[in-house]
């Protein structure tokens, strides 16, 4: 059997083809904005430079979880079963307290990427003339960054849990004893992600420049904390407790403490913890919901 191959080809112009397939409307539009938000936050579909910062922070958080696990595992191996607990090495309940600063800086650097360029470049005008409202847009963007933050919060805790259970001389015994840590860190991580996402997105909604939003957020999260804690300790009493409540980085960590039923190292000296779990959790919800409502209000009335 022989086949004669032609040495020449013909290119046919098939012309314009109308689209006759499905049009999935507003639901598809919301999902598309969500998907694009996740991709923008992680630098997918962008140049190499866009991937450096988000993946640096995710790697740093994961590495922190891994270091905790290695240290605890080594303590168990060298000191015998229960040595890590006796040495009071940091574990799941302490993780968000220690890692919160990395998570806040991560949010400060990455969250503006989801909102500022769309308004700065005018792409928001193209969204709002499609089957999508301002509320749909901001809800989808918020959800996208929330999912990224949730991944960044849960991943190191999962690494830590796997490390601790794998490092224990009797892993099944560890799992039986500590299984409740899993729903606890999932819940605490959700609170952490919801809070940082909302505050970072709200700040980003006030400027079209990413750098301004990032610098402001870093100032809000990092620089403000020593002032409020120092002032609270200086004044003392109920006034000091309330001033301490304005340490924005501590708000979700207090919720973490309530969930785990123990005080983490970072909130140990915060006078706010004396106000009790109900007040601390209500304060967290107040900040998250009010910031979320302002964010929604700003985009609800947006028109090109």
């Amino acid at each position: 059997m022989s086949a004669k191959l032609s040495s020449s080809g013909t290119v046919f112009d098939i012309g314009y083809r109308s689209y006759t397939g499905a049009r999935e409307g507003r639901g598809r539009a919301r999902r598309a904005v969500f998907k694009d938000g996740v991709r923008a936050a992680l630098g997918f579909g962008r140049g190499g430079r866009a991937k450096i910062l988000p993946w640096f922070f995710i790697t740093a958080l994961s590495a922190l979880g891994l270091i905790f696990a290695i240290v605890a595992g080594a303590a168990e191996r060298l000191g015998g079963p229960g040595a890590a607990e006796q040495m009071n090495l940091p574990s799941h309940s302490d993780f968000y307290g220690i890692a919160s600063i990395i998570m806040f800086v991560f949010a400060a650097v990455v969250a503006p990427e989801l909102l500022c360029p769309d308004r700065r470049n005018g792409v928001i005008n193209l969204y709002l003339v499609r089957p999508l409202t301002g509320s749909d847009y901001i809800a989808s963007r918020w959800a996208a960054f929330f999912v990224v933050m949730l991944g960044a919060a849960w991943l190191p805790q999962m690494i830590l849990f796997l490390g601790l259970s794998g490092g224990d001389p009797i892993p099944m015994e560890y799992l039986e004893k500590h299984w409740l840590d899993v729903p606890r860190f999932l819940a605490a991580g959700t609170a952490m992600a919801a809070y940082t996402t909302t505050i970072a997105m709200l700040t980003s909604s006030f400027t079209t420049r990413r750098a301004y939003a990032s610098v402001f957020l870093v100032g809000l999260f990092v620089i403000m904390a020593p002032f409020t804690i120092g002032l609270a300790l200086e004044i003392g009493g109920t006034a000091g407790q309330w001033i301490s409540m304005f340490t924005l980085t501590s708000i979700p960590v207090h919720v973490n403490d309530v969930i785990f039923g123990e005080v983490s190292e970072i909130t140990d000296m915060a006078p706010a913890r004396e106000l009790g779990p109900t007040m601390l959790v209500s304060w967290f919800f107040a900040w998250t919901f009010v910031a979320g409502a302002v964010l929604w209000w700003r985009y609800r009335r947006l028109a090109p």
Binding site: Y16, S18, Y19, R26, A32, G45, D118, V129, P131
Partner: protein, 311 residues
């Protein structure tokens, strides 16, 4: 100006911003084809387009797009496209990535969005450059991306706001060709807003002229230019004698540079001109019909609107 089923219909549309009246009792319909919306800055073009896109609520009156109330139906926006005048493009993503995303935001499933994005970029002449970041594109290429995102979901109707803004003559010509192609080959009707009358005249089938928020004129482009047809006559000498001979035959001639113009599309005018030339013995150098450009029409309408406003 309605010759078929209206795609867009505006009835007694008024939009006020406080004391400022952006649109004042405007009524028009737009059918299949390329329609130009012409007017100076502040004439109400952008306000009309925003109301038709459902982004602004009218103070009174109604605007329907593809049979649906523009301010109430979000779904209808999936069947229209919009190319804004100003920059509206991300800088760090490729044209392919951006158009795929915009197709999805318009409601197309991801697999179809990718196919449509590639097809559309081919049609707007950016297929070879589709994987380059948009930030590195020239102004002309960016205008094509803006047109592409307006067409990527195969809309029934597309709004183009000043599509030739910032383009050099070659880029402008290419854009006008693309706009004509959008209707004639792709079957997508176009509302083309511009203050460049030459672009509207060369591209559109129909025009709507807005002035100070009011509808001044609307109709077929050919009809406008035909109505304003003139005959230009140039003679070597005795121009006054020829004008007098024409006046005797009831034809008013207006001095125009070195010659004169006579208004009126009636062909019998040529017989009168022949007779007047014989009578006056004026040596004819040139005689040619000339269509008045839309520019002149617009100037005339502006004067009318100003006089109306002053009154």
């Amino acid at each position: 100006m309605t010759t078929g089923k209206p795609l867009l219909a505006v009835e007694h549309l008024t939009k006020r911003y406080g004391d400022v009246v952006a649109l004042n009792d405007v009524t028009f319909t737009i059918t299949d084809g390329i329609t130009g919306i012409l007017g100076e800055n502040g004439a109400g073009k952008s306000t009309a387009i925003k109301i038709l896109l459902g982004l602004l609520q009218p103070t009174s009156g109604s605007a329907t797009v593809l049979g649906e109330n523009a301010s109430e139906s979000i779904a209808v926006r999936g069947r229209v496209g919009y190319m804004p005048e100003h920059d509206a493009l991300p800088t760090h993503v490729s044209a392919s990535e951006f158009l795929t995303h915009m197709a999805e935001v318009s409601g197309l499933p991801p697999s179809m969005a990718r196919i449509r994005a590639a097809d559309t970029l081919r049609h707007v002449g950016l297929f070879e450059e589709r994987y380059r970041a948009i930030g590195g594109y020239s102004t002309g290429m960016k205008q094509r991306v803006k047109l592409g995102q307006a067409l990527v979901h195969d809309p029934a109707f597309v709004f183009l706001d000043e599509p030739t803004a910032g383009l050099d003559p070659a880029g402008r010509e290419e854009m006008l060709t693309l706009i004509r192609k959008t209707h004639r080959e792709f079957g997508i009707s176009v509302l083309f807003s511009s203050h460049l009358m030459a672009d509207i005249e060369r591209t559109c089938d129909r025009i709507i002229v807005l002035q100070g928020g009011q509808l001044v004129q609307s109709g077929e482009v050919g009809q406008f230019t035909k109505e304003t047809e003139t005959v230009f006559i140039e003679v070597d000498s005795n121009r006054e004698g020829l004008m007098a001979a024409l006046e005797k035959r009831g034809i008013a001639a207006i001095v125009d540079g070195s010659g004169m113009t006579i208004e009126g599309p009636d062909e019998s005018v040529y017989d009168h001109v022949r007779d007047a030339l014989i009578e006056s013995q004026a040596p004819l150098r040139r005689m040619a019909p000339r269509r008045r450009a839309l520019t002149e029409l617009f100037e005339r309408d502006s004067d009318k609107a100003q006089q109306k406003g002053a009154a």
